[in-house]
């Protein structure tokens, strides 16, 4: 039986797993690199081939997987806690597809010089807009069904608008680029990408630093939480803004990587005794682990064309989603 663990022990295990995967991700790939030689060369001469592979190819890819994965896990846990709904996650309630739409618009209209900033900005605005729309559509005390329906509606609207833009795209090359980007991928990551995504990500994380206790209180419902001194409207804004900033920034760099925000909080919940506040940190680490692992798996698969990591997480995540639906159906009967 999976049971509650001490927080320090759980986080220790997760940190150990995340750092091993991070190192593995640095060292493993189409080109195997000898550890010591590479490190030495990196320090001696940053322009050597091994050093370039490490710092220009592997490092940004691993860093982005680490940060984007953590964002997805963290935001999934925060949204599920706030909406008290196990199916709320950035992917399902529109935050991710909104970010994708915003980023596509930025790619489409953004001039080359501006794109560095317009891409994450588009992602953040798109994410915020979509999340708020779903929230307004579903209402404050939305049940699972209403929330999912609102999410479906906004997701399909965002996808329809993306399709429209693709439809109108001037060159087939641009279409292909956008489609591939939307599948969600970490290949072709550069340090520049990482720097682009970093500010929004860190800002979003910082906003979520102190919400744990309020989310714990929300376990007992909104009225009780308010009577316990929680400023509910402020909490809501804080979380929406945080999710928009962090998910918007991540998605604008990696494309849509689905299901991590849904799956990870679920897997870790029993280990934290179902306490939403404790789940946040664990879920962030869990998200990083899952995305790093998925990205390593993608590199291991013997395929002619590299399988996109977003495709892998969706292939694993969708059946898990089905399992959750079946489980909740049985629960409600």
């Amino acid at each position: 039986m999976l049971g509650e663990m001490r927080q320090s022990r759980l986080l220790g295990l997760l940190v150990a797993a995340a750092s091993s995967l991070f190192l593995f991700s640095l060292l493993f790939g189409s080109q195997t690199i000898p550890v010591f030689q590479t490190l030495q060369e990196t320090f001696d001469d940053t322009s050597s081939v091994l050093a370039l592979i490490l710092t220009e190819v592997r490092l940004p890819r691993a860093l982005i997987a680490l940060f984007a994965g953590a964002t997805l896990g963290l935001c999934g846990a925060a949204m599920q806690a706030m909406l008290r709904n196990p199916l709320a996650s950035p992917g399902l309630i529109g935050s991710a597809s909104g970010a994708a739409l915003g980023a596509v618009i930025a790619l489409y209209f953004g001039s080359a010089a501006l794109s560095q900033f317009s891409l994450p900005l588009g992602g953040i605005l798109g994410s915020l807009g979509a999340t708020l729309l779903v929230y307004l559509l579903a209402g404050r005390n939305a049940g699972t069904l209403t929330l999912i329906l609102a999410g479906v509606a906004i997701n399909s609207l965002a996808l329809a608008l993306i399709s429209l833009l693709l439809n109108l795209a001037p060159s087939p090359y641009a279409v292909q680029e956008i489609v591939l980007w939307m599948m969600g991928s970490l290949s072709n990551s550069s340090m520049e990408n990482f720097w682009i995504m970093l500010p929004g990500t860190l800002l979003g994380w910082m906003l979520l630093l102190r919400v744990g206790r309020a989310l714990d209180a929300l376990t007992l419902g909104e009225e009780t939480a308010q009577s316990m001194g929680i400023d509910l409207p402020r909490l809501r804004w804080r979380i929406f803004l945080a999710v928009a900033l962090a998910v918007g920034s991540a998605v604008s760099v990696t494309g849509a990587i689905g299901f991590i925000g849904l799956v990870v909080p679920h897997m870790l919940r029993p280990f934290v005794g179902y306490q939403p506040g404790r789940l946040l940190a664990a879920s962030a680490l869990g998200g990083a682990i899952l995305l790093l692992a998925a990205d390593i798996l993608v590199r291991l698969l013997p395929a002619q064309t590299e399988i996109k990591v977003g495709v892998v997480t969706a292939l694993v995540g969708a059946p898990f989603f089905l399992y959750l639906i079946i489980k909740s159906r049985r629960y409600s009967q």
Partner: protein
């Protein structure tokens, strides 16, 4: 100086008046029963006192201080609220739920102190929850759940506890258990406002009753003064025979809890 005082509290929802110029007062050590038919405004009044709804007009005071001047956290430490139906959204264990009651006392990053732990332990023991402390909430029976939620509210060590129908859907023995916990809280120098539909429980346990009807106070005072045939007829549309034995029956509970 009364512990809690509300003066001319009014609240409307979509132009529909919910509360109209209601006064309420609570003294130290007192259990005040809020009674009245469904839709009389009892729960709304309690929500306003708990800070989860705002009155449109009127003045709320805690001791000498106005509600608006008291920081959120301090108010949460002094007033605990037990809503009518509390859902627990995740299958937390009994102990973890009761720990939530200490939230108003904790620093944002602080852990439970030794004192917090002591309070939690004594609340768990007082509520007879020792055998259940590690059980997930969703596996408990209705009576056990009611005790857990009440224990959560008491864990905040509030001067004032606001309980909205805490005995609804409980069997007679569990009803007496919960009322006894509330009475015990009052006897420790605190005060309780409790919404009740069971007039006998109200008459037996509360020092004063306040009868609400259509958003107004119809009567307030000692149980015998409030539960008169006239008042019951006006508020509840029920007829109580004027014979003294009928009134005696209403004012007395003829059963007792067998000690466990």
């Amino acid at each position: 100086m009364s512990l809690l005082r509300g003066t001319t509290l009014s609240l409307a929802f979509d132009d529909q008046p919910i509360l109209e110029a209601v006064d309420i007062e609570l003294d130290k050590g007192e259990m005040l029963g809020l009674i009245g038919p469904n839709g009389a405004g009892k729960s709304s009044l309690l929500r306003c006192l708990a800070g989860s709804a705002r009155t449109d007009s009127g003045v709320l005071q805690l001791g000498e201080q106005r509600f608006e001047d008291i920081p959120r956290n301090e108010r949460a430490r002094r007033i605990a609220y037990l809503p009518q139906q509390t859902e627990v959204h995740w299958p937390l264990s009994v102990e973890r739920i009761i720990e939530l009651g200490r939230i108003p006392h904790l620093e944002p990053w602080g852990k439970l102190s030794e004192r917090d732990q002591q309070v939690i332990e004594s609340v768990i023991a007082d509520a007879d929850l020792l055998p259940f402390r590690h059980r997930p909430f969703n596996t408990l029976s209705g009576g056990e759940r009611a005790r857990v939620l009440l224990a959560r509210a008491l864990a905040a060590e509030p001067e004032i506890l606001l309980a909205d129908e805490p005995v609804a859907a409980l069997d007679p023995a569990h009803q007496l258990d919960v009322m006894a916990m509330l009475a015990e809280h009052c006897s420790q120098g605190n005060a309780v406002i409790v919404v009740l539909h069971d007039l006998r429980l109200a008459a037996h346990f509360c020092q004063r009753l306040q009868l609400l009807h259509q958003g107004r106070t119809l009567a307030v005072g000692k149980p015998g003064e409030v539960l008169t045939p006239d008042n019951l007829e006006n508020a509840y549309q029920i007829h109580l025979s004027d014979r003294q034995d009928a009134i005696d029956t209403l004012l007395n509970i003829t059963w007792k809890r067998i000690p466990r």
